[in-house]
């Protein structure tokens, strides 16, 4: 058994092994690079969908949209999740990383995969959106890139489980694993299951694009794609909720109100979410109504129950912690005296608000069979998921960063005053952006469309002045959100480069 180097964290007393530390650092930095790529494409998308500005031409718009989806939803989020997995296993369990070599393989495969995919998109060989519904076809390298990326991510999950096993074996912790590790474990279980489905979808598609086998049935592809594509969103939800608990503890020392309840809720995600995916194909042919309602009704709502439980436990834990600090006057003194100037804390609360009140509510509504008819493929859909995956997951990850920088990178965050306003700038404007997008979608404007007015078509369309107003609000809020995102990238990268080193 090879001895690994470690240091002892002065703040927590945990042993931090350099193998884990390096992998956490490199995955997080790569994630931020992809966030930057996604943010640059967002500028073009935003200023094109804002019909009054209409910046990009059509080909460029669709290309940027494909790249935006891949860079953000796939690369930024999953690279960051790999960092979280290593953190939640090796660091929190006080253990060395199992097989750091495979950890490196994870990183290299994911980097090569994401790079290959992104390059194919930029070269114009893959104007198919990240969903790549067959028979739309991209160059076969595009699918290979996705497959490599997924294999890398599976390896990352394996290292995570290996490390948990190692920690158990070497008894580096006592009792049951911490809640954050438990949440990350649920995310990793879902990840392995869904990435395997992803492989089942993308390997035949890759072979088809290479001309080796006939095409998969178009509806089967849609069903399989979302069987994995929707469930991967549950990885994001799980990882985000784990970050919520983590942020609660780091910012105010919150203790989960009842471990049993929180852990049971995480387990509900694992048990039931794999099943809700059919809400993506509610208005498709190929499945009976009974099948669709069963899949998206009963089972999905048990996963919704899990979110409802966390929606209670997370804020409750911070309330209890703040009351313990003596803020007990009236009902809301704890809320007023909360550390709103701590970017970790404000990120936590804005993330919970956006995910639950905007993303969660619209999600449950849009996933019903009948209402889906009025929302399918309209701007309501990206409005919904910018609330979940951007305000929710992305902001939670950003909030974690302010703690990862000093604890793992050992640098003091530069310009703490700017870091303080970053969650508000990004989070609040992203909430407004999402709601404005949803409102534009209410009048029926479709998503993924370069021009909603049909200028080049045989018939023109007029959505009226209200829609233009909402698109303008979306545009302005989107610009503020992009500034907030840029501020995050600048502060994070700036801290890495010139932040004051913390010794110890």
């Amino acid at each position: 058994m090879s001895a690994q180097k470690f240091r002892t964290c002065p703040a927590t007393g945990l042993k931090i092994y350099s193998s884990a530390e390096t992998l956490i650092q490199i995955n997080a930095v790569t994630a931020i690079v992809f966030l930057l790529v996604g943010g640059l494409t967002a500028i073009g998308l935003l200023l094109t969908r804002w019909q009054a500005v209409h910046l990009l031409d059509d080909v460029l718009f669709y290309r940027a949209l494909t790249l935006h989806g891949i860079a953000m939803l796939v690369a930024w989020i999953v690279f960051f999740e790999m960092a979280i997995l290593y953190f939640a296993s090796a660091v929190l369990l006080n253990c060395r990383l199992a097989t750091p070599f495979i950890g490196w393989l994870q990183y290299i495969l994911m980097l090569v995969g994401a790079g290959l995919t992104a390059v194919m998109i930029i070269l114009g060989q893959a104007d198919v959106m990240f969903t790549s519904y067959v028979p739309l076809q991209a160059a076969h390298w595009y699918y290979l890139g996705i497959i490599l990326f997924a294999v890398g991510a599976i390896l990352g999950c394996c290292v995570f489980f290996g490390t948990i096993g190692l920690a158990k074996h070497e008894k580096t912790y006592e009792g049951s694993m911490p809640l954050v590790t438990y949440g990350a474990m649920c995310a990793a279980i879902i990840a392995i299951l869904t990435l395997a489905t992803g492989a089942l979808t993308f390997i035949p598609t890759w072979l088809w694009a290479a001309g080796l086998i006939p095409m998969m049935d178009a509806e089967l592809y849609r069903l399989m794609f979302w069987g994995f594509g929707h469930s991967t969103q549950q990885i994001n939800v799980c990882a985000m909720v784990a970050c919520w608990y983590l942020l609660g503890t780091l910012t105010v020392g919150a203790v989960p109100v009842n471990e049993k309840v929180s852990r049971a809720a995480f387990a509900l995600y694992v048990l039931f979410i794999l099943i809700a995916s059919e809400h993506h194909v509610l208005v498709d042919p190929g499945l009976s109504a009974a099948h669709k309602t069963w899949n998206t009704g009963y089972f999905m709502h048990l996963a919704v129950l899990a979110s409802m439980i966390h929606a209670y436990s997370c804020p409750a834990a911070t309330e209890v912690a703040l009351r313990k600090k003596g803020y007990t006057k009236g009902l809301f003194e704890w809320l007023k005296k909360a550390p709103w100037g701590d970017p970790g804390f404000s990120s936590l609360w804005i993330s919970m608000f956006g995910f639950g009140w905007i993303g969660g509510i619209t999600g449950v509504i849009y996933g019903t069979e009948q209402l889906n008819i009025i929302v399918h493929n309209t701007l309501r859909i990206p409005g919904h998921f910018h609330a979940t995956v951007v305000v929710g997951t992305t902001l939670a990850f950003m909030g974690i960063t302010w703690y990862v920088l000093p604890l793992i990178f050992r640098r003091e965050v530069i310009f703490p005053g700017l870091a303080r306003i970053q969650p508000y700038l990004f989070g609040v404007s992203m909430c407004v952006f999402s709601v404005a997008m949803i409102m534009a979608g209410v009048s029926g404007v479709s998503r993924r469309s370069w021009d909603m007015n049909g200028m080049d078509g045989p018939f023109q369309v007029d959505f009226g002045p209200m829609t233009d107003l909402f698109l303008a609000i979306m545009g302005v809020a989107g610009i503020l959100a992009i500034l907030g995102g840029a501020l995050y990238v600048l502060l994070a990268v700036g801290t890495l480069l010139i932040g004051k080193k913390i010794e110890g």
């Binding site: 369990l93 104007d127 049951s176 399918h376 493929n377 029926g444 078509g457």
Partner: protein
């Protein structure tokens, strides 16, 4: 602390009162929304029939051509206009990047609308009533529709279908 390992026995800690109340509310609410969906399916007016069968693009195209030949009354922007009789089977064909034919329907009459694509996925977004369906190659998706409001509607493709996606706009007339 959620970042520290916890002692065994955590699963024996009872729920406190507020927690129980919240859990019950959440559970009942989830049950309610679970029941609403099938219930709407039974009592609601707007549902997909769920009727479909598999069909090749060639066969669907042939059926659409026959349908057009039978009921065509004119042309609009180069797209045939058809006036089918009430209670009949009507066809809407999606192809990169055109919807055809232009359907002229009678308010209050019922039709069986056959929907498919002969190349890639397309989206059928009927505006301004805002009803959206998916046209999938290889599948004939059948919707039973009864138009109620007279007027001119647009059929906007809302599934990305290639470079000309945004130009794929059709027309539907209800008289």
């Amino acid at each position: 602390m959620s970042i520290q390992a916890i002692k065994p026995g955590w699963w024996q800690k009872p729920l406190d009162g507020q927690e129980k109340i919240w859990l019950s509310i959440a559970f009942v609410w989830c049950l309610a929304i679970t029941i609403i969906m099938p219930w709407w399916h039974v009592v609601g007016d707007h549902n997909m029939s769920g009727e479909y069968h598999k069909i090749t693009g060639g066969d669907f195209s042939m059926l659409t051509d026959q349908f057009i030949e039978k009921y065509q009354v004119g042309m609009d922007e180069g797209i045939p206009v058809v006036v089918p009789p009430a209670n009949s089977d009507i066809f809407l064909r999606g192809a990169q990047w055109e919807w055809d034919p232009v359907l002229k329907l009678k308010a209050g009459s019922t039709y069986r609308l056959h929907l498919s694509s002969i190349d890639v996925n397309h989206g059928v977004s009927i505006q301004p009533v805002n009803m959206n369906f998916q046209a999938v190659p290889g599948y004939d998706s059948i919707l039973t529709i009864t138009p109620t409001t007279k007027g001119e509607y647009r059929i906007i493709c809302n599934e990305f279908c290639g470079a000309g996606h945004h130009a794929m706009i059709g027309k539907l007339i209800v008289e």
